[in-house]
């Protein structure tokens, strides 16, 4: 294999740039010699032709939505429209500084304002901030607001946050970073919220409950309004993890369910590309009583006055406002503005028809589940063991879970083996072993941007794997760049950087 440090060519072949506007001696005379660097970093020495080929080669060894079906549960891997990338290359966003005065940024502010309003409308919240740059940071931000809310009311003693055992790991981690103690409650046997368990833990020390709905099992919690009542009557706040927001837009909203705060994963629901792990964008929305604690600043507007400079032409002047008791900043500037603008372009594609997006996400999930759980009788006879539903329900929402426990017990094939074997069929594996309450769990989320044909093919391939020789499945994958990777070796040896084969030359 080749790595970038094997490039160590002539310094003359490197990328060219203009000379400094002062001579070396004029630059160096102003910096004490003790502060100067002894030798430059041992970075590769490569020309543009070599690097273009290196990174193209790397890209071909990476699987994205563009490569094939990506049913990664909880991650909403939908198609990323390309015009969004074109838009963020405009100088009006790419070459903008967050400290520029308001009159220079009217266009950005108007888009921020529109996004705040749209997210508030879709979620039943009163005020939105776009500053948090990831879902986890949104959770953290909202919990900070809730914390200040309790403190100001003289209820700073509320130190416990309740999360179901099926919650995303970020929920307890974010609350814990605020200093909260985590109370984890078990799910009921059908995977839904256990109201009795909830009742037994809520009390005058409850700061909040964090929950996602539909749950990580892909099932809508019918008792959600009751749970909200219970937490509220104990004086706690309800926090909605928006990871599964793609399932419900236009059908219901967190406001109707009784939530006080919510985060949105723009990189899930609104198609900011995941880019191999980020950037994301995790705005939060809150009800009125929490809005004065939101991070600063927030986009606002008023009717344009005669002596105002030219705006964007919609009759409004856009400006920043600071919430009265703001918690300050969670990101240094105004969040991932580039992501917000991409997601604005995505939202504009649907407008008031966002409901259709959720309908198709739910339609595709149910269709795929149906196709997997109802194989032809001919295929069924060859299958070693059928998957079990992660949750007993007639309909799922945007995703569903399967337990491969019977395959494991009968032929020794684990959920992980099946996930790895799927890679040989040219698709990404589903989310593995989450939620932890489902044994040998595969979590499948097709999203609305997959055609019926793709879903049919996946169901067929999936069922076919269940008929294969168990040893074949256990040895998978075979067709990928590398065969199964030894994660334990990596953790034991911790080779976290290149040893530096050209460092002596520098």
């Amino acid at each position: 294999m080749s790595d970038i440090f094997s490039f160590n060519g002539s310094p003359k072949a490197g990328w060219s740039q203009p000379d400094p506007i002062l001579s070396d001696s004029e630059v160096l005379e102003t910096i004490p010699s003790s502060m100067l660097r002894n030798s430059p970093p041992a970075w590769p020495r490569a020309s543009e032709p070599e690097l273009v080929r290196h990174y193209t080669w790397l890209s071909r060894r990476n699987f994205g939505i563009d490569t094939g079906f990506y049913p990664l549960g909880s991650c909403t891997m939908k198609h990323n429209p390309r015009v969004n990338e074109r838009i963020v290359n405009l100088p009006g966003i790419d070459r903008m500084h967050p400290l520029q005065p308001e009159h220079q940024i009217q266009g950005i502010l108007s888009i921020f304002y529109e996004m705040q309003e749209m997210l508030a409308v879709c979620s039943g919240m009163d005020q939105v901030t776009l500053q948090p740059v990831a879902g986890a940071q949104g959770e953290f931000t909202a919990m900070r607001c809730i914390q200040e809310y309790h403190r100001e009311r003289g209820e700073g003693h509320r130190n416990k946050v309740i999360v179901p055992d099926s919650a995303h790991g970020t929920n307890p981690a974010s609350a814990s970073m605020c200093g909260y103690e985590i109370i984890e409650i078990p799910s009921a046997e059908d995977g839904r919220i256990d109201l009795e368990a909830l009742q037994s833990v809520v009390g005058e020390d409850t700061a909040a409950m964090m929950i996602t709905n539909p749950s990580t099992l892909g099932v809508f919690e019918p008792d959600i309004a009751r749970a909200s009542e219970m937490v509220h009557s104990a004086g706690g706040q309800m926090y909605y993890d928006g990871a599964n927001f793609n399932a419900i837009i236009g059908k219901t909203d967190p406001g109707l369910m009784g939530f006080d705060a919510v985060h949105y994963n723009l990189h899930k629901t609104f198609s900011q590309p995941h880019g191999g792990g980020g950037p994301g964008s995790g705005p939060i929305g809150v009800k009125e009583h929490l809005s004065k604690y939101l991070p600063s600043p927030i986009a606002s507007r008023r009717e344009i006055a005669e002596d105002d400079p030219e705006g964007v032409g919609d009759g409004y002047w856009y400006n920043w406002v600071t919430p009265e008791k703001t918690i300050g900043k969670v990101q240094q500037w105004h969040g991932n503005a580039g992501a917000v603008i991409r997601c604005w372009a995505f939202y504009r594609r649907y407008g008031r028809e966002l409901e259709r997006m959720s309908e198709h996400a739910v339609l595709n999930a149910n269709y795929l589940r149906f196709k997997i759980m109802n194989p032809d009788s001919e295929v069924l006879t060859k299958i070693h063991a059928m998957p079990l539903d992660g949750a007993p329900t007639d309909f799922v929402m945007h995703e569903f879970t399967l337990s491969m426990i019977d395959m494991k017990n009968k032929v020794g094939v684990t959920g992980k083996d099946i996930a790895k074997r799927l890679l040989d069929y040219g698709v990404m594996a589903p989310t593995l072993y989450f939620p932890m309450i489902v044994p040998e769990c595969l979590m499948i989320e097709p999203t609305e941007t997959e055609s019926k044909e793709v879903l049919d093919k996946f169901a067929k391939d999936f069922l076919n794997i269940l008929t294969e020789d168990p040893d074949i499945i256990k040895g998978a994958p075979y067709t990928t760049d590398v065969s199964r990777v030894d994660e334990v070796w990596a953790a034991r040896n911790l080779i976290l950087r290149h040893p530096g084969n050209n460092s002596e030359d520098n």
Binding site: P44, N62, L90, R95, G107, V121, G275, G276, G277, V482
Partner: protein, 455 residues
């Protein structure tokens, strides 16, 4: 609404499932929480209409490249090589998720392992993660990480010291991140040259961590920091915030005892982009490896003993350790770090040196030109500077910047917005693209302002 391949085929799919209507799929949503009215939003748009609106709205902004600009304050008005955007937006990179399935993600994993190496080389510390959200969250999480590592042996328990010149927006992020851990935050003083009061710095001895920036928010390169580790001792983490480009010229903090280095990666890889997405650098020594935040890629082998890469040390992370995780970070800024890696590899050892000299030269040349204007006072005339420097001008600096703006020059950042005591100060930011003609425009604009104030 051209993003739905199954639009118009709903009935076909429903009938295969034995259903009649879409509503049946949503029947588990109880009546009392159902939305009754359609969303009060505008109708859908085509790609063409969206592009038109985007051009109009974003075109109404005034971008930094459209005029002489001296606004930096933590971001760089850089030039990003064309190759970077074109390759990073290849769909295989752009549309992939966190590489949980290593076998089909070797490209991004290797690119991030190479990124880790380049950051490690840049700051001269052995370990780097694959990015944090920005410089401020990097600094904040470096502090909480250092407290977890050092608190046991610390004589000043749960205590950290931060330079008083850390800008307010970063300070605010730090406060939000540390308040939950019950950390006591003290500040370290500076002298009139903008240098850390190094003798006083020994008050931090025995605490968990010291956080300083090099250059600091006034652009000052402080020679005294080279001795700071000796003052605070082995058991107190020295955390240094850097300007990544400056390290092409000045000594990397790893050379002078830094335990953790953080900073803004943005100058490598992406434009200022209104402050995000950008990426935070996080590098450290082995001591912190099990307490550090963020994703880390390690080298390993596959079952055929072929070299391979995988995410490692995941047991620190939220999806495994939940509320006992070292951080809540999950999504990070990988794609922007990838763009950074491409930019850094294109620069190479010689290119980063030239780039750093270009920024240093622009800063020097601009300072020299402004210092000759009657009425302009350099706030730290004796200090070495990089990228930014502060001047004092007659009148209110916010008004001055606004006045010069009307003359077509973005003159810098009015520092009164950060610190009231600096209401007559402007932070002038330079970069590799600052030209002689930009400098002349700024000189002219400042002279006009001074004339305006006098009248």
């Amino acid at each position: 609404m051209d993003q739905l391949p199954n639009l118009g085929r709903e009935q076909e799919m429903l009938s295969i499932m034995g259903l009649n209507s879409m509503d049946e799929l949503f029947s588990n949503i109880p009546e009392d929480v159902r939305r009754k009215k359609p969303l009060p939003l505008p109708p859908p748009q085509s790609e063409e209409e969206i592009w038109r609106d985007a051009q109009h709205l974003l075109g109404s902004n005034i971008d930094l490249d459209s005029r002489p600009s001296f606004l930096s304050a933590g971001l760089s008005r850089n030039f990003v090589p064309t190759m970077v955007g074109m390759l990073a937006t290849r769909g295989e990179f752009l549309t992939s998720y966190t590489p949980y399935q290593a076998e089909v993600s070797q490209g991004m994993l290797q690119a991030m392992w190479e990124f880790q190496t380049m950051i490690s080389e840049l700051v001269n510390l052995p370990i780097s993660n694959v990015s944090m959200y920005d410089a401020s969250t990097s600094a904040a999480e470096a502090i909480t990480c250092a407290v977890r590592v050092h608190n046991k042996k610390a004589t000043q328990k749960d205590t950290i010291y931060v330079s008083e010149l850390v800008p307010p927006h970063r300070m605010s992020v730090i406060k939000n991140y540390v308040q939950g851990s019950g950390i006591n935050l003290h500040t370290l003083k500076h002298d009139e040259n903008g240098h850390l009061d190094i003798d006083n710095a020994s008050i931090a001895h025995g605490s968990c961590a010291v956080y300083v920036e090099q250059p600091n928010s006034f652009g000052i390169l402080d020679e005294g920091l080279l001795d700071l580790k000796g003052k605070i001792g082995e058991n107190t983490a020295l955390i240094v915030g850097i300007d990544a480009v400056s390290l092409g010229l000045v000594s990397p903090p790893g050379d002078w005892g830094a335990d953790i280095v953080v900073g803004e990666g943005q100058p490598f890889g992406i434009g200022p982009t209104f402050g995000g997405p950008i990426y935070g650098i996080f590098a450290c020594t082995e001591k912190y490896i099990r307490q550090m935040p963020g994703r880390i890629v390690g080298q390993t082998y596959d079952t055929n003993e072929k070299q391979a890469f995988t995410l490692t040390l995941s047991t620190r992370e939220q999806h495994i350790r939940r509320h006992r995780a070292t951080s809540n970070i999950c999504s990070n800024e990988t794609l922007i770090a990838l763009m950074g890696a491409m930019h850094m590899s294109l620069l190479g050892p010689e290119g980063i040196t030239v780039l750093a000299k270009r920024v240093a030269a622009s800063t020097q040349a601009t300072r020299k030109a402004l210092s000759s204007i009657e009425g302009v006072e350099l706030i730290h005339p004796k200090s070495s500077i990089f990228r930014d420097f502060a001047i004092k001008i007659p009148g209110d600096s916010e008004k001055a910047v606004s006045f010069m703006d009307s003359k077509g020059v973005i003159a810098g950042f009015p520092m009164g917005l950060w610190w009231e005591s600096h209401s007559s100060s402007i932070l002038v930011g330079c970069d590799e693209r600052t030209s002689e003609s930009d400098i002349s425009s700024l000189v002219l604009a400042i002279k006009e302002w001074i004339k305006e104030v006098k009248n």
